[in-house]
Subunit: 464 residues, 2 copies
């Protein structure tokens, strides 16, 4: 075997016990909220047939898909002239029939189409799995990262949209975030604006320009709009939209007057109102005054979404969006199953991790790691403490004994590095009295307890 | 976008909500046992540098590693004459620098070496992640499957070996298995036998032949041993080993006399005795009479293991081993870090899944799925029940309302397919009385409860 100095593949990461604990805290919190709303977990394979993925993410996306080389003598069937051409792209489908998942959406669409006869609609699923992209790695951007998607297909009810707002609110609150904004828009409102102006092809230019209001002011936005092909007349129509301000109710009232002549625009407004009315019926009307914000510059996935569009930002840390989603009417059309509507959102786990880290919101004490370490003072004490260890574990307490009678300092530093909460010191005196010296590793406090008292203490700590 | 009839990549599987629930039941049970014994979770990336994996699994293994094609113009640097040769193998390192994880052991070794200065030894880790092998798919053999490994490196104490026996016992019992055998052997005993006979190169032939005793009897085994290069004299020495029988203590006694002249053989026996003595000290001596079985034909990973060797079988279902492992003295040597000892075991999650399925040991009621579905009878009732839904979820109960006022039959069949435990029927009468009709979907029983009573009932059910 070659003696290589090992390294990680570019753009990938190891996760240490401490990092795993924090990541699992996020994933478990999301899972438990998704389940409370009736969503069930599915998983799809890490690789799909290349043909399942190709053409779904645009030309740029196709390039970022990791292709898997066929096994065996993969060159045997390649015509010599194709090889001679050295055309990397042309050769791909000949020597690669599989590729790594690029997102969770296309595999989910494939899943729904393949299992359509077993599925009861509406089908509510969540999926937390890694995806892979051959992006150039940079700070905060990895070639392997997790996506957390939650979607319902086969139901057009706006109750679903309302529940996604509740899901965001509940999940982010459960993670300890206090100040975040759930932005909502509706594709139909954007279509309505384009209809009113008569320039549907300029929707994206319009939203991009309007989005800069904070930075460049009304004059700046108008200048950019003119450059992007709008007229002075258009600017007059757009002015109340650009300056859209006030409460959500006020914004919708302004929009209603601007879009009075557009049936599709009014339908978009009515959809937002229905979503808000559901939120109120859930007893969460205060969300509409604080977390939820109508933002008609939100154009996320404009080619894809057909109804409501969501995006979530934290206001406590400078950070891009930590979630987003929307309604789509043709998820499964790419695989031949037409007219299946769906709506879903996703959580950006890596960014949420960074936010929680910066705000120090990860739980301090870990229930995932060892709660108590028994110091090993040699064979006699070992024999005495092994039944104690068995009792602790039988009570569900993560516990271990240091495996050899190493120096006390070494054992204590092991406990320290592993963030063990309590250390048990058992000497001859303790054997005689049936009590243990229990040291709290964070406070340094030490006290004498018998086994039953110790178990009660540890179980109480674990429940915090 | 092309309209393709989608399919799964060969040898891969989707996991439905019901399957995920069962798989998570296994993984969560294992996780919780591993943690109780002081093991912490880590994860490594799905792909590694190809050079990290190549040469670690033998020539056959190398062929089964899935290689990832380089991105971009991957052919540009390939010399024309190499292409003209059409040598698939030779081209691999030129067009592929990454490969999918083949097992969890080599990435773990890479992890330990790369993080050696951050790790406090002994380092106790578990890892539950998929691995990929380009095997020919067949019943029960997939190209993507999960491994569950638990290892400690940096401790030579046999306390670790004893704890792995406890871990197997506790995890398999927690999963509901009642009759299983944890076989144990020691590489040093096999070396001792070879030493006594003077044919160390024939260890594998010997164990393979002896392993057939049940099927072909002593004469058959002897015949095979002669064919494999042993002499009549050897057979006389081997006879008490082949016929090794009785309790573990009796077996060790017989071995002690056969191996009296071999220091290494005696050391192996002493190791097993020490492991057993730890098991007894843990108050689990009965395990040594039932679950644990000394089996000197166990030669699993003979080139790899240097001390104790484990293998676990269920006796309730015909099935290959559901777990195994052992001590190794040179895990990280391949990456230049010498003399780091370790011991670990693994659980075969897919086989355990099949065993639990066959024995119907998966929990009947699921806490992972929706516990209560509110039937949707239209807008008025919807408005009345949304606060109820919010209360149920606030109490931690997975609950949903059917999103539209579809026909009752359709809503009930949705509840049925999703294995929802209770359905809430709220009509005008219920609104007036403040009580709900609660239908138990498995028993069909229906009763009237108010919201508080309902929450108490559901929380009690979830706790079962």
């Amino acid at each position: 075997m070659a003696n290589i100095k090992p390294s990680l593949a570019k753009g990938t990461r190891d996760f240490s016990p401490l990092e795993m604990e924090k990541r699992n805290h996020i994933f478990n919190t999301l899972r438990s909220v998704f389940r409370k709303f009736g969503y069930n977990e599915i998983q799809t394979p890490s690789f799909e047939n290349l043909s399942t993925l190709t053409g779904k993410y645009g030309d740029e996306g196709d390039k970022l898909i990791f292709k898997i080389l066929n096994s065996g003598d993969y060159l045997s069937k390649v015509p010599q002239d194709v090889l001679a051409e050295k055309a990397s792209n042309k050769l791909i489908p000949v020597i690669s029939e599989k590729a790594l998942r690029y997102d969770l959406t296309v595999p989910f669409a494939r899943y729904v189409v393949m299992h359509q006869h077993e599925l009861t609609l509406p089908f509510k699923r969540f999926q937390i799995q890694p995806v892979w992209r051959a992006d150039r790695p940079q700070r905060g951007r990895y070639r392997e990262f997790y996506q957390c998607d939650v979607d319902v297909v086969g139901s057009s009810s706006l109750l679903n949209e309302a529940e996604f707002i509740l899901i965001y609110h509940e999940a982010l609150s459960a993670l300890g975030l206090k100040d975040f904004t759930i932005k909502i828009n509706n594709r139909k409102i954007l279509s309505g604006i384009a209809e009113v102006i008569g320039k549907p092809e300029l929707i994206v230019d319009m939203t991009v320009a309007i989005d800069k209001l904070d930075k460049i002011g009304l004059e700046g936005v108008n200048k950019e709009l003119l450059e992007r092909g709008f007229t002075e007349d258009d600017l007059n129509v757009l002015k109340p939209i650009i300056l859209l301000d006030g409460t959500n109710v006020q914004k919708l009232t302004s929009l209603r007057s601007v879009l009075a002549s557009s049936a599709v625009g009014l339908a978009g407004i009515a959809e937002l109102e229905e979503v808000f009315s559901y939120i109120s019926a859930f007893g969460q009307a205060t969300l509409l005054e604080h977390e939820v914000e109508v933002d008609i510059t939100l154009a996320r996935g404009l080619n894809y979404y057909t109804g409501c569009i969501f995006e979530v930002k934290t206001n406590e840390v400078a950070m891009g969006s930590i979630g987003g989603g929307g309604r789509y009417d043709d998820l499964t059309g790419m695989f031949g199953l037409k007219d299946l509507t769906g709506v879903g959102v996703s959580f950006g786990a890596d960014r949420i991790y960074d936010v929680l880290e910066e705000l120090r919101l990860f739980p301090a004490s870990s229930t995932a790691s060892t709660q108590v370490l028994i110091v090993n003072f040699g064979e006699t004490i070992e024999q005495y403490t092994l039944p104690v260890l068995a009792r602790l574990r039988a009570a569900g307490i993560p516990a271990e004994i240091y495996p050899t009678a190493a120096k006390l300092k070494k054992q204590m530093s092991y406990a320290d590095d592993k963030k063990v909460q309590y250390v048990l010191l058992v000497g001859e005196e303790e054997v005689a009295s049936g009590q243990f010296s229990v040291k709290n590793m964070s406070s340094g406090e030490q006290r004498k307890l018998n086994l039953d008292q110790l178990i009660i203490l540890l179980k109480k700590e674990a429940a915090v």
